[in-house]
Every structure is written in structure tokens, then in C-alpha cells.
Symmetry: C2
Subunit: 592 residues, 2 copies
């Protein structure tokens, strides 16, 4: 029905006849002539409709915003002075000979270029309008190119695209499952998978050797952060591999992706141990675009007459660390107060600081509410952090966990606020994770999942589980975890030992993961893999601000779709077939 | 960890050292030497382990069926007389220098080459074993190549891969939905999509112009036929297109797919109207590999003294048709009885037949229980069907629906039983479907779905809905519907008219499809598309016998996964969070 997309038109086509199909982006009447900006997924082109072509003119005259038109006309250069260099098609226009109204449109709920004036709820309700914005179309188009590039790379490297079930059993990630009542098995439920983890391991047991899938995953969690109830993973697993194999293949995949899609050449990814990342950045996903690092000063603070510092400095689980911000001495009191509130979100009970105005004046050159407590150690401290005039030093002093989270978050926030970035893209690998962490009840919990292989033998694991490292690796980009994976356990004795450390009884293990354990017993190869969060990767690559910007039909924070009004009520007949009933009448139900 | 896959070894590698990783497919001890057939996803290679290498020998000696080994050795030609020309690696063997046991294996539930001796339930329970069979690996590998080829073609043609939600609202296909209780919206439920139909139409409204997705779909139906509760579609939609555009693009896609993956060059697909297909083959998905066609003889049977024929011949909804089978006169009485039982499945109350032994003898040369009733018309009938000596004629006489189904099924069965195929692949398009059919209650129902565009204007539709044709098209291959689609309604007046014909009130339409209707009101382009059943396509292309052969982890006829034991019970706490309770105690539940 068309000869060209609107955005493809340019001065090389002058004098050619073209046929365009698209939407009325804008309409202006000027000097008895109608100007239509016609929009399709490739861009916008200006169409001029003259009263000399009365049929075309009459149809153009009917056309309103977002009408769907088909236009035939001849390309010509725009008159001198009306050319628009900011617009890809800004040098030319189409003089219409035919205008056909393919469909009308009611008045849109908002104008595309005024989308910022309406709430996100309106934009989600009329998602098909919001998706018309060029940046939304471009992001989803880039998403398609990204998955295509990833697939091509993985296919080239012998990975087979294999689908795993959506209607399945609970998986080992431990978040809350979405459940699906079974009609044919009364009282029983499917779970939607939180990941294809167990299936991909079984595909390795079956000998597929290299598997990938761009897979939908589901978690019924409260969506405090930028999360969605359904999200997409690039899921990868391979047999007869070690860490370097998986990391090498996937690093190359990301590097090729950035080159192909963004024309960006990423460096080799540095590797950092989890321990170093926590020590230097307070985070297991440090944003290395920001040149700030923590400096530990516990030793200096053990004996100061300031409990806020000396307490944590002497505690086993305490930490006192300094974050030096070059040029930060210019921060106002108000700004510092705001940062103090900010670290409060992460549990810090305050934010001590020292402005270094003039080091040559000694303590006199410092400005700080706390410097008086640390006169004996201040010079050593300033030397250790390499303080220079104009710097500000922020202190974190608390349990190490709080210091890491609060000062780590502050570091990221300062990086953005003060534009400290040294590079646009900073990828890295974080490795040598602990196998376990203690949860709030003091029990050991798996830092990744219970099928992650330890980097030691079963006996060592048994002796000292808390010090055991895992064979896990996370890929981090600009402070975001792009993906994580590990070499898995393929040895049954090791698997038993890990369950024992986690306090999982044989019975519980069989009940939850029996089919995987059976698989491991039937000739499991050494194997490992990785899963990338596709939504987040696309968001980073397209400059979206939330993952909702890169998902065609996302859900709200309360896990609802405002466009389709899902979830919705169902009739009693349906529930009866599924052998369930509501705990309260639907009419009493509250919608949060 | 390896240098080659087992199946890659050949005589060009003689004298090279290789390292293989894989499974012990077979082990034989012969003349003090151990022979191991090592298997990986690419094939099997013979490894010889000599007592001269004692460490290797000791490990090989431990190895049992399905142990996982890593073997290093040197390639050599097999001794004269022991070469195996039926095996791709049959000319060479590997003389092992190192054998490492990477993992042990318990005794497998069945030997791979004896899988036929165990029931499908055992193979589904130990799916990771069954998947080790080379034909299973090959089918799933081919599936991966098929999706890759399809994706490449669609990307090349400007289609964007866009994901649509899994947690959504009921869709318009009308089968039973899988439901997912919402935790955050008490008493409400998501539905899993039966197709992305409404979303892809809204993507057209949004201006994405060309969309595709390889999408999981869900139907909670009784699985009489070869169906799965979750299945996969190649889903395609485009804007500003007409029938020929969609059919052209998708036909080319399938033709390219067959060329790339199977090295098969398909012809241009013929097009046949629905009416012709029913008349000639009694089916809207005729298998054109089989040269048999129905011949109508109603006119001849109106006055015969045989109610079984004259009744349907005189009834408005009756049909009397002949299926001539060349060479069929050799069928035994027992075989004919079996075919009579077979058509009974489709509602036929008998199967009349005439064997043409010797036409030169007139009625004397015919053998038949019924020929006595039709002496006046028999010669006309024989001439009309072009009967020759050795033929058998089968008769269908009943309501047209029964004749079409019974004789149509018989035609397909005879094609297979007598190997009547004239070609390996017979694709076609079926077009000009009726818009509606009467359901059992006499109401009009959509033959496709209520968004399919009619081939007439709204006024004509209103006047005579039963005669209206739709703008739908089905792609058929070897008697299987590969895919179906249509040009959609983009005009609101037309949409209202179709709902009216279907007896769907405005209120019901708004309740069910309100968001789509809103979308259509906001500037919907003309659009249409098609969806292919991927599982069935792969089954046909790989020679699988059921779609379970081309799905990694399929479910049983009662919609259960025997491997993971899904669905399963959940605890009361989980149900409480979801605001539901069981209608009966789980302990009373029956598993069908």
C-alpha cells in the first residue's frame, strides 16, 4: 500500500512520486494550504495539500490529529527559508496529489509531544498511544535488534534455542511463585517459573551441550524497585566448561552486541573479587564509571573519643570508612543535609564529613563538626585518603553492612549529581563470591542458589562453610548487575554437603528438587551458565529510565495492567472447574 | 575441556591427538581390550583402551553405561574388517592415552536403543534420558534451526520482535483459559493468553507496522487430539497490507525455511477456496499428496430405492459422494470392515462400496451389496467417477457434515495405508472462508475470531451474514493446518456489525474487548497477520509422530508433567495470600 516509509524520504528522491501510509502527527493551515506532518515508525515527513487538487484537499481538510491517511504525491525541495535541518526529512516535502482517509481517530487522550504533562497511569491506560512516541518505538526497535544480535552470536557458537515450560513446578530461587490451579488435577497447582534453572541443568544432563533461551520468568514479589512480575532473561548453559569458558563466551557476546547495535567498543572486562568490591565500593555491583573509592580507617578510630566512630571501629562486624570527593568542599550545608537524609534510607544514623579547605593550615584549614574528636589521627587520615584542598570527606561508621549500603549508595548518587563519570561504559566481572550468607535468623542461606558449585572440596566445605567461596560470577555494567551465573554442582556428594550446610534435609531436598537430583545421578556432565536480565540490559543500552520504557505492555507497581484491566474478576463457574473458591466475595475485594 | 565433538571425528584426523567429553553409549570387553562407544550431541565415536595404559584402563574398567568421561587419545584407522560404513565415524577409532571419569551414573531406567520397550510414561518421567536419543537431540536441534531461519527471514523483512504479556486478560479465542490468582488484587485473576491476538493488533494501532513473536500460548482444553496445554506460535502482524501481502510474505518464509533447513524446494502454493476444498476433499485442510477426490452423485440417488442414499440425496443438508480408490478392489472383506469401523468414529452409519472387477461385463463385473438398488444409474455413475477395473468406490451418504468428515478422514487414511502419495510435500492456501458457521444451538459463531474482516461491506453483511465470506486464509501442508490468519477489522462500524451478527451486545463487547475497541477508535491502520503453530511445523519437518517429539518437556494428555510432578500441592499459607481456598481438601483430591 506504500512505496516508502515517511522517515526514508530525502532529497535524492526529488521529483519522484511516492505513496506514504501513516498518522497525522500535526496539521497546520497556512495561506490556504494544508500542511500535514505524516508519521510512521521510521519518522515524520511534511506533506503539502493544495486546493488545486480538490479531492485531496477535501480529505486533508477532514483529517485531524492521529487520523490514518494514505497519501500519494511528488517529492520536492522545500522553499528556501522553510527547510528544517533538525529533521531528517527537513529539506524536502511531498506535494500531495491524492489523500485517502484510511481511518478516523477520536481526540487522543494526550498529544504525543505533551506526554510529560499526563501521569504515567494515563500513558499506561492508553499504551498504544504512548507507544507512538518516536523514542518508545525506537527503544522497542532497538530491543528487537539486541535480541537478534544475541541470538545470532549464540547460534554461531553452537547454542541451541530450546523452550522450557511455563506451566511447571516451583523453582529454587525462593521468591514467591505465581500459581495456576489445575482443572484436571483437583487441588493441585502449577507454578510459573522464576527461571528455567532446573530445566536447563536437565538439558545438560540430556546432553544438549549448549543451550540458550530468551525466556519469560515470573516472580510474585512486591515491586518496590524497578521490577516487573514478568521479566525476560537471556538464559545460557553449557556442558564441559569452567568459569573462564562461560565468562569468555558471554563477555564476547556483550562486546559484540555493543559493537553491532551501539557502535561502541567495550574494553576487556576487568575482574574483581566480591571481597574487593565490597571493600573498595561497598557494593557487589560497583559502578566503575565513578572514580571514588572507600578508604578504611578503622585502625585510626579505635581510640578516638567519639563513640560513633570508636564503637564500630572496635566491633567485629563494624566498619569505619571514608569516601573522599574531590571538589566536594563546595557542597552547601543544605546539600550535605540532603545527603544525610539520603544515607538514612539505607540505615545510616548520620553522615559525618570534613571539608578540606586549606591543608597548609592544618586543622584550622578543615571545616567539620567532628574534627575535634580526632586531632591525634587527623593528619594520618588526611594522608591516607590523599586529601587535597577542595575535597570533602564523608564518613560511614556502623555495622559493615550499613556502611557498605549507605556509603555505597552515596557514592553512586554523588557520581551522578556531580557528574564524576570518567567513561560512558564501565563493565566488570565480580567473582569469588561467598557460598553463603547468614540471614536475619542466623541461618546460612545460599548467596546464589543451592546448585552453585563451591570452589573447594566437600570436606573443606563441611569444615568451614562460612569461608567457602563459590564458583559464581556476576557481570556488572555501570553499577547494574547485567547477569549472574555459576558453575553448577554435578557431583552428588557435593550437592548433599551444600544442602546440609543450608539445613535442607534429604527429605526436603527430594520433595523440592527430586527430579533434578535424579537427573544428577544419571550421568550429569560438569556444567555451568549464566542468565542476563534482558529488560535491564535494553534499558541501559537505550537510555530508558525504567524497565517499563523497554517493555511494550508493562504492569504497574501493584502488578496490574491498566490498559487491559488485568487482573479481572472471573465467574463462579470457572472457579468451580478449577476446584477453588474465593476466600472473600469478589464484591468485597479491595484493589490495592 | 574438549578438542572435538565425537561425531566430528573422521579419517582426516588420523594421527592427531583429540580430547572428547561425553557419555558411555556402549562398552565391550574384547581380547583384554576395552571398547567404549563415546556419545555426545554430535554422534558416537569408538574408543579403544589398552592395558598398556594402566591408569586409563583402570578408569575405563570402572565405566558403566551413561558414565560421563573425558578421554584423550590418538585417532587411527580401524583395522581392516572392523570398519563400520553405517556409522559416520565408522572408519576410525581413538586409542586412549587418558581416561577420566567426570561423573558416574546409576543404571539407566532403560537403554537408549531399547526405548521402544518401555511405556511413554517412563520416558516422560526420565525425560533427560529419553532426550539423549540421537533422534530426539536431532529434532530439537532442527527446531532451533527452524526458529532461527524464521527469525532471520522476518528480521530481514523489517518485522520487529516484540514480547507481549503472559499475565493478562482473557483473549477472544473462546477456549478455556488458564487462570492465575492475583495476590495484590484480592479475588481477581490473570488469564494466560490463548494467543497474542489483541496485543498484536494494538501494536499495529501503535504504529509498529511489522511485528512478530515466537510466542507461548495456553489453552486449558481436554487434550484428545495431539495438543499441549502450552504451545508455541510464530505470530505475525503487519499494517497497511492486504491478503496478498501477508500470504506472499509468509509463503516465502516457509519456502525459504524448507530450502535452508531441509534443502527442499517447495512449489508456489496453490490457492483453493474453502468451498472447493470441502466439495473435493471434505476438509478445510486437504492433504493434496493424495490424488483421491470426492465425486458428488446426489442427483443420481434422488430416486433410487435405497433410503440410505435417497434420503440424504433429497435433504437440504444431505450429501451423497463417492471416493474412487484405484486398485482398491483388492481390499479384503476384513479390511473393508475395518474402514467401516473407522468411518464410524466420524459418525457415519456404514460404508457402502462397489468393487469394479470387470467393467466390460456390466453389472455382472461389479461386486457390491448395494449395486442392486441402483441399476438404473450405475453406468452413469461409473462413467462420472471414471471407474476402471480394479477400483473400489466408497460411498458417503448422510448429512453433508458427516459425509465430509467421515469420507475425508477415510481419504487420508487410505492415502497412508495404500501409500498413494504423489509427492512428499503438498502445501496450499485455503481462502474465502465463510465468516460464520451455525453452532449446535443454531447461533452464528465466528469461524475464525470476531476481529476477522468480512470480504463485503457492513450493509451486505447485515443483510445476509450467513453468505458472507471472510478475508481469512489458512496455510495447509500435507493435510495439517500450519497456520491461519486474516485481514482484521479496523473500521468501527464494521466491527459493530460483526458483533451484532454474533449476538454480542455492545455491553458484552466492551466488557471483553473494550481496550481493543478503544484502540481501534484511536486511529487504527488497516492490518492483518497470521499465526503458525510452531510445534506442528517442526513435527512435520522433523518427521516426529506427535508434537511431544519436538517439545523438550511436554505434558501428558491429562496436562501433567511426569518428570517434575507438576501440578503439585501447595500449602495453605500460599493459598491464603492468593485469597483463595480449595473447594475440597487436597487430601481428598483425585488425580485424573
Amino acid at each position: 500500500m506504500r512505496s516508502h516509509y515517511c522517515g526514508q524520504l530525502n532529497e535524492s528522491l526529488v521529483d519522484q512520486e511516492v505513496t506514504l501510509c501513516g498518522w497525522v502527527h500535526r496539521r497546520r493551515d497556512h495561506g490556504g494550504v494544508i500542511f500535514l506532518d505524516m508519521r510512521d515508525r521510521d519518522g515524520v515527513a511534511q506533506v503539502v495539500v493544495d486546493p488545486d487538487t480538490p479531492d485531496a484537499f477535501a480529505n486533508a481538510d477532514r483529517a485531524r490529529s492521529e487520523y490514518v491517511l494514505r497519501i500519494t504525491g511528488r517529492i520536492r525541495m522545500r522553499p528556501e527559508g522553510t527547510q528544517n535541518a533538525n529533521m531528517p526529512t527537513g529539506l524536502i516535502e511531498v506535494l500531495a496529489t491524492q489523500v485517502e482517509v484510511l481511518n478516523t481517530a477520536v481526540t487522543p487522550p494526550f498529544q504525543l509531544d505533551e506526554h510529560g504533562k499526563v501521569g504515567e497511569d494515563v500513558r499506561l491506560k492508553y499504551r498504544y498511544i504512548d507507544l507512538r512516541r518516536p523514542e518508545m518505538i525506537d527503544r522497542l526497535r532497538l530491543r528487537s535488534r539486541i535480541t537478534h544480535s544475541v541470538r545470532a552470536y549464540l547460534e554461531d557458537n553452537g547454542f541451541l534455542d530450546i523452550e522450557t515450560p511455563i506451566l511447571t513446578r516451583a523453582t529454587p530461587e525462593g521468591a514467591r511463585d505465581y500459581l495456576v490451579p489445575s482443572r484436571t488435577h483437583a487441588g493441585e497447582f502449577f507454578a510459573l517459573p522464576q527461571s528455567p534453572q532446573l530445566f536447563k541443568q536437565l538439558l545438560m544432563v540430556a546432553g544438549f551441550d549448549r543451550y540458550y533461551q530468551i525466556a519469560k520468568c515470573f516472580r510474585d514479589e512486591d515491586l518496590r524497585a524497578d521490577r516487573q512480575p514478568e521479566f525476560t532473561q537471556i538464559d545460557i548453559e553449557a556442558s564441559f566448561v569452567e568459569e573462564d569458558d562461560v565468562m569468555g563466551i558471554t563477555e564476547e557476546m556483550i562486546r559484540r552486541l555493543f559493537a553491532e547495535v551501539l557502535d561502541v567498543s567495550l574494553p576487556q572486562f576487568p575482574r574483581m573479587t566480591w571481597h574487593d568490591a565490597m571493600r573498595r565500593y561497598g557494593s557487589d555491583k560497583p559502578d566503575l564509571r565513578i572514580p571514588l573509592e572507600f578508604v578504611d580507617v578503622d585502625d585510626l578510630m579505635k581510640d578516638v573519643d567519639f563513640k560513633v566512630f570508636s564503637g564500630p571501629a572496635n566491633a567485629d562486624d563494624g566498619r569505619v570508612a571514608v569516601l573522599k570527593v574531590p571538589g566536594g568542599a563546595k557542597l552547601t550545608r543544605k546539600e550535605i543535609d540532603e545527603y544525610t537524609n539520603f544515607v538514612g534510607i539505607y540505615g545510616a544514623r548520620g553522615l559525618a564529613w570534613i571539608k578540606v579547605n586549606d591543608r597548609s593550615k592544618g586543622v584550622e584549614g578543615l571545616q567539620s563538626p567532628i574534627v575535634k574528636f580526632m586531632e591525634g589521627v587527623i593528619e594520618t587520615l588526611l594522608d591516607r585518603v590523599g586529601a587535597e584542598d577542595g575535597d570533602i570527606l564523608f564518613f560511614g561508621a556502623d555495622r559493615a553492612k550499613v556502611v557498605n549500603e549507605a556509603l555505597g549508595a552515596l557514592r553512586v548518587k554523588l557520581g551522578g549529581d556531580l557528574d564524576l563519570y570518567t567513561q560512558p561504559w564501565a563493565p566488570l566481572w565480580v567473582v569469588d563470591f561467598p557460598m553463603f550468607e547468614r540471614d536475619d535468623s542466623g541461618r546460612l542461606a545460599a548467596l546464589h542458589h543451592p546448585f552453585t558449585a563451591p570452589a573447594c572440596d566437600p570436606e573443606t566445605l563441611k569444615q568451614n562453610p562460612e569461608n567457602a567461596l563459590s564458583r559464581a560470577y556476576d557481570m556488572v555494567l555501570n553499577g547494574t548487575e547485567l547477569g549472574g551465573g555459576s558453575i553448577r554442582i554435578h557431583d552428588q556428594q557435593m550437592q548433599r554437603q551444600v544442602f546440609e550446610a543450608l539445613g535442607i534435609s534429604d527429605e526436603e531436598a527430594r520433595e523440592k528438587f527430586g527430579f533434578l537430583l535424579d537427573g544428577l545421578a544419571h550421568g550429569a556432565p560438569p556444567h555451568g551458565g549464566l542468565a542476563f536480565g534482558l529488560d535491564r540490559l535494553v534499558m541501559l543500552m537505550t537510555g530508558g529510565r525504567t524497565i517499563r520504557d523497554v517493555i511494550a505492555f508493562p504492569k504497574t507497581q501493584s502488578a496490574a495492567c491498566l490498559m487491559t484491566e488485568a487482573p479481572g474478576t472471573v465467574n463462579n463457574e470457572q472457579l468451580k472447574e478449577l476446584h477453588i473458591r474465593l476466600r472473600q466475595k469478589a464484591s468485597d475485594s479491595t484493589t490495592s
